[in-house]
Amino acid sequence: MTAFRFPACTLPPEAEALRAEVRAFASAALRDVPEAVRARGWAAFDADFSRRLGERGWIGMTWPKRYGGREKSMLERYVVLEELLAAGAPVSAHWIADRQSGPLILRFGSEEQRRFFLPRIASGQCFFCIGMSEPDVGSDLASVRSRARPVDGGWRLSGSKIWTSNAHQAHYMIALVRTSGEHGMRHAGLSQVIVDLKAPGVSVRPIKNLVGEAHFNQVHFDDVTIPADRLVGAEGQGWDQVVAELAYERSGPERYLSAFRLCLELARRAERRPDDAALAEAVGRMVAELATLRRMSLSVAGLLQAGQNPAQEAALVKELGTTFEQAMPRIAHALSEDEVPPATVEGYLTLAAPSFSLRGGTREILRGIIARGLGLR
């Protein structure tokens, strides 16, 4: 049996110094933003806010300076993320580009791609989405049907993606598509291509979610021209490239802080009712869980900073974190006798919670990965 390891990670002084700066910035910037809006956190799109973060150097901050980065450590980046998330800052616009698209381009992209995209991302002016799921392809990602056929000077892409968050507001999509081989060949023959969402043949249809908001979309590609230099990395290696970055996607503080504004609200309720032992107890349990999760999430950040690929540990932290996030509305409800209007922190998170264990790999998929780590499959 493989034991999952979560070695302690101590933040360096420069990361703690940065914390004060980010906290002060977020506090000032969000002073007049109501709690119910803050509750949206990394689901809230605000291009202007992202641009302001870019100006401060808080997007793409670990990347080389020649690509617009600041050459900071993963741990400094971790502090920026957790402070923004805890404050309920609207960070959705640049989130995917900062977390996944940029690092992917940095690691596998061409020099031209790096020079073109990374400075734009880092300045908070170029937003990405990720095209993974398709109408018939959910968790079984290896069977994607979208296909880019080779033509002179590049590729011609047809197919469609679905549940693509922010496709209606992003500039580019990095799509996992088949570039060679046949459907059914599983992981071989898949590639990642950068799709300009303004290109002819791309149509984006927002899908209203159960909260009543449009975050995700269906995106159709109808013979969309993809220039040859917009394929990322090696042709046919798309799957391996996707897998290589999963630890980045899954272990971040956003995997346990989605309901943090409700944690705060619960604490405020308890403050108003000092004699309610059940409320105090719930706050205590919540604090123990938050501290444990933060310790584990930071541990994975430390492993990433040390150049390791803790994919299993990341899956485990995501599973634990999303379970906690999803439990919060249930806990709040169990301690309340009041009805819940939709335009409140609790109302919003009650509605949004089901998505927490769907995005970024479902609970069942993650448990499958953990089971593999245990040597069960």
Partner: protein, 328 residues
């Protein structure tokens, strides 16, 4: 000794000395003197002579993992506490006591409830009026009980019992907090062992023509168990690394609460994997799970520690919830 060598030595120690006969004898009420002597000889009951809490923590966790029927955790914790207040730890078996006792002129009067191995200990370390006190155990009036795992829990009656006082006072709750941290580490160890056993069993037990590990239901349940075990280990590690530091008050509470939560879930999941064989006395699983069910309630239950954590957090105010978390 490096941590790696220590781990190996602890493994060998269990195999050599904690035989099923010794374990059954201990549960029947016979103190396993040979096992304890071997632990003393190996230095496992006084690790601070040659190491720090990293080594001591590894021993405590191993004692939980191997369900050793002797109070290594209590002796280690008691000896460390004594050193903190300038008392030379006496030789022999030391344990921790909680109860209601009054201190007057180096004599204690009152009751210590359900003291682990209180009938076998040479001394018990307890708290009275902000002082750490060292009380000799032999010949005290005692009430013999046990926990769900058959470990002795012995209430002691003190009537103007002479005791030794330290040079320094201690913060209230010191004994309970360190006891809670010890139980958290033991639980993390026991849960890891239960997970290891369950995985091994799932990979070898064949039903419907294949190892049950190949069924998704089993995989999902064991993965969920592994998540709890990992969380418990991380929280216990948090407590261990904070002993003697300012963060210990928080982490001892958080670890005991988190490990207690995980213990209930992990024990249930392990039993589900083993089916009927895991419910027999013959099978080793109950040595772990009965301890988990006992330890989660000792030195403060989840409810107790959650309330402590909640009150402390609320005393600081909701607006400090996040800033305080980032100091942990």
């Amino acid at each position: 000794m490096s941590l790696e060598l220590l781990h190996a030595a602890l493994r060998r120690f269990t195999v050599e000395h904690a035989t099923p006969a010794v374990r059954d004898g201990a549960e029947a009420g016979a103190f396993p003197a040979a096992l304890w002597q071997a632990a003393e000889d190996a230095g496992f009951t006084r690790p601070f002579a040659s190491g720090g809490w990293a080594e001591a923590g590894a021993i405590v966790q191993a004692a939980g993992r191997d369900a050793l029927p002797v109070p290594m955790a209590e002796s280690i914790a008691a000896s460390w506490l004594l050193e903190q207040v300038g008392i030379e730890p006496p030789p022999g078996l030391l344990t921790l006591g909680e109860g209601e006792i009054e201190l007057a002129r180096s004599e204690v009067t009152g009751n210590l409830w359900r003291v682990p191995w209180g009938g076998d200990a040479s001394h018990v370390v307890a708290e009275a009026a902000g002082e750490l006190v060292l009380i000799p155990c032999p010949n005290l009036p005692m009430v013999f009980e046990s926990n769900l795992a058959g470990e002795p829990r012995v209430s002691l009656v003190l009537d103007r019992r002479p005791c030794t006082l330290g040079t320094d006072r201690i913060a209230p709750g010191t004994v309970r907090r360190l006891g809670a941290a010890m139980r958290a580490l033991q639980m993390a160890g026991a849960m890891s062992a239960a997970l290891e056993l369950a995985v091994e069993y799932a990979n070898t037990r064949v039903q419907f023509g294949k190892p049950i590990a190949k069924f998704q239901a089993i995989q999902q349940n064991l993965a969920a168990m592994a998540v709890e075990v990992a969380a418990a280990s991380a929280a216990a590690e948090g407590a261990l690394s904070a002993i003697g530091e300012t963060g210990f008050e928080f982490w001892a509470a958080a670890a005991k609460s988190r490990c207690g939560d995980a213990a209930g879930q992990a024990a249930a999941q392990a039993h589900a994997v083993f089916g009927a064989i895991g419910f027999t006395h013959e099978h080793a699983l109950h040595r772990l799970t009965r301890r988990l069910w006992s330890w989660r309630a000792e030195f403060g239950s989840e409810r107790y520690w959650n309330r402590e954590l909640g009150r402390a957090a609320l005393a600081r105010g909701a607006d400090n919830l996040w800033p305080d978390l980032t100091l942990r």
